[in-house]
């Protein structure tokens, strides 16, 4: 299981962004961009080395901080799920940074420098805390990681300092704080009952009893508030739509995935014996409601960024449909890995597509001077690459082949049918249909020619358009992974993981 020779890479993946932050503070706004990009390049190397190591040995990695073994010490662990998340976060952050070079330049003085300084510092903070969320093997460290993630996300929301965005940021902070307190309460209860916070040790001793149920319920609800699953989503649209485009992309594509990942860890790795199929059904029912409500409200939006934010609410619903599918398959004694892979592909493709959409919306805003959906004429003339990127990202959200969204939905649909839960399949198809309506409306409107003599408000640099297109293409072509042999792609998720055990003392 352990690979001690190179396990220190895990520490580096967490520490490096924070070291970068310290240097960024030291050198100030003039050099922050250079510091951030250097840190990013080094961090990419570390993540790449972790990936090569894990894929080469086909096993997980574990590092004990200070050499102390749990329960006294703290372990960092990487398995297939962590690896997938580490990789997608690194890719999205890199491309968003390339895009943000123009939006947050290293200016000489004044307000702009401060916004740029905060943006780049928080970008690094988000990266470091997400890496900690994916690698930590300890419930309390995860609490700290979640709080760091919130503290990094909130300033990004309020970056432009208007009243509306400050209000959105404050609301987001209040929701997130309540969420992490509920999570902490659950962790404290678990410590009181079992005397450890290490996930692997906890998984070995945890019993299905009222206290465990209460702790799991508290932690799950807290995490759902941070993930913005329906009906706890009301903070998300104003927060994500009000932030600058690059910040929205980070928040919508990555930050909400941190707490979602923790729900996945808790349910699958810590408490598979405690969770019941009906609890998983409830989680997925909230997901289904998110898909329907989020898409319906998205259809009614007048502003492009708000529409994309509500689309995030809907897409987050898909991430919770995998739970009853995984447990349903495991209960029926079948291989549940296809449902897990489907959920992970959905996460990756949504992260890439949503980042592309928000960045595209940012470019459209710059070009037109507004983002009213009713008046998108001429965008395709000024920004052909961006509109193509928006369409490709939209196709991935809808689930058209060969996009990542198609592969994800195909895996989840077949898992739904295999585990005899056809109703989730209906929700997925309906959600895809509703998504296609608003994607087509936007693409068709932006293809309308502009009036004669119309000129864009601002010409956007070519490389910003290329960064957006890269994100959208990555999401669109993700589905081609299925053409590779499974051990080269889809089986990554299972590295260092044991197949889900049958639930004890439960009948299907």
């Amino acid at each position: 299981m352990t690979s001690p020779s190179s396990a220190w890479l895990l520490v580096l993946a967490v520490l490096l962004p924070f070291v970068g932050m310290a240097f960024g503070l030291l050198f100030g706004g003039r050099h922050i961009q250079r510091v951030a990009l250097t840190t990013l390049a080094l961090g990419l190397g570390v993540i790449g080395a972790i990936a090569l190591n894990m894929l080469g040995n086909a096993q997980g990695m574990e590092y004990l901080l200070g050499g102390f073994a749990p329960p006294l010490g703290i372990a960092l662990r990487a398995d297939g799920l962590s690896l997938v998340m580490l990789l997608v976060v690194a890719v999205v952050i890199t491309l968003v940074s390339l895009y943000a070079r123009a939006d947050f330049p290293a200016a000489n003085s004044g307000q702009e420098t401060r916004a740029a300084l905060i943006f780049w510092l928080m970008l690094l903070a988000i990266w470091g805390s997400l890496n900690l969320v994916f690698l930590s093997g300890d419930l309390f460290t995860l609490y700290v990681a979640l709080e760091l993630l919130t503290f990094a996300g909130v300033p990004l929301v309020a970056l432009d300092g208007r009243g509306a965005t400050l209000r959105a940021a404050l609301r987001y902070l209040l929701f997130a704080l309540l969420g992490s307190l509920l999570y902490l309460l659950g962790a404290v209860l678990l410590y009181g009952a079992y005397g450890t916070l290490d996930m692997r040790m906890l998984a070995a001793v945890v019993r299905a009893e009222p206290l465990t149920w209460a702790a799991l319920a508290l932690m799950t609800v807290g995490l759902l508030a941070k993930t913005a699953l329906f009906p706890l989503h009301i903070w998300l649209p104003p927060a994500h739509a009000g932030a600058p485009a690059a910040a929205s992309a980070l928040l919508s594509a990555l930050v909400v995935k941190g707490s979602w990942f923790l729900v996945l860890r808790l349910w699958l790795d810590v408490m598979p014996q405690v969770v019941t199929l009906s609890a998983a059904q409830l989680l997925a029912a909230l997901g289904a409601a998110a898909i329907i409500v989020g898409n319906l409200v998205a259809l009614r939006q007048q502003r492009l960024k708000l529409l994309i934010a509500y689309s995030t609410v809907a897409q987050l619903g898909y991430l919770f449909l995998m739970f009853p599918l995984i447990f349903g398959l495991a209960l029926a004694g079948q291989d549940s890995s296809s449902a897990l892979s489907g959920g992970m592909v959905q996460t990756v493709s949504h992260a890439l597509a949503k980042a592309a959409m928000f960045l595209a919306a940012g470019l459209i805003y710059l070009t037109l001077g507004h983002d009213r959906i009713g008046d998108l004429r001429g965008v395709a003339q000024a920004l052909p690459m961006t509109v193509l990127a928006f369409a490709l990202a939209g196709a991935s959200l809808i689930g058209l082949p060969p996009s990542g969204g198609f592969t994800a939905k195909w895996l989840l649909l077949s898992a739904a049918l295999d585990s005899a839960q056809w109703w989730w399949a209906l929700v997925m198809l309906l959600g895809g249909l509703m998504t296609s309506v608003y994607v087509f409306i936007i693409v068709v409107r932006s293809l309308t020619p502009a009036e004669a003599g119309w000129t864009p408000q601002k010409n956007v640099p070519q490389y910003q358009q290329i960064a957006v297109l890269c994100l959208a293409l990555a999401s669109f072509l993700l589905g081609l992974l299925t053409l590779l042999p499974p051990e080269l792609a889809l089986d990554w998720v299972q590295i260092g993981r044991e197949p889900l055990l049958l639930l004890r003392g439960q009948t299907p």
């Binding site: 609490y143 009243g163 450890t196």
Partner: protein, 129 residues
Amino acid sequence: MNTATLFGLCASLLIGLGLYGLLIHPHPLRKILALNVIGSGIFLLFGAIAYRGAAAGLGLSVGADPVPQALLITGIVVAFAASALAVALLLRLFEVSGNVSLQAEESADQASDPGSDPVNNPGAGEERR
């Protein structure tokens, strides 16, 4: 009733009070305070658990379990940072908009909506987006 149970009950009371305050009071400062009350309840509960000694796992018979105490310190620091951030946002919100209501969102959005009046009210922040 032993001491640990008494502290545990006090902790649940604090958490309950905090949750009630968070849901009932519309004023953001009260909400921040309510969150702090919940946090205090959780820390008290953790302290009671440390006092009782971990029920399972470590098997300490006398004194208090040191692990929760160490975690408590971290938790208090995090909670302090969270409150500071929330109050800073609140103060800034008051400076910018003259009120601290979380409900004024709709009117504020319309005021800064470039769609309603694109010429006269572009808004400095909107330009930078």
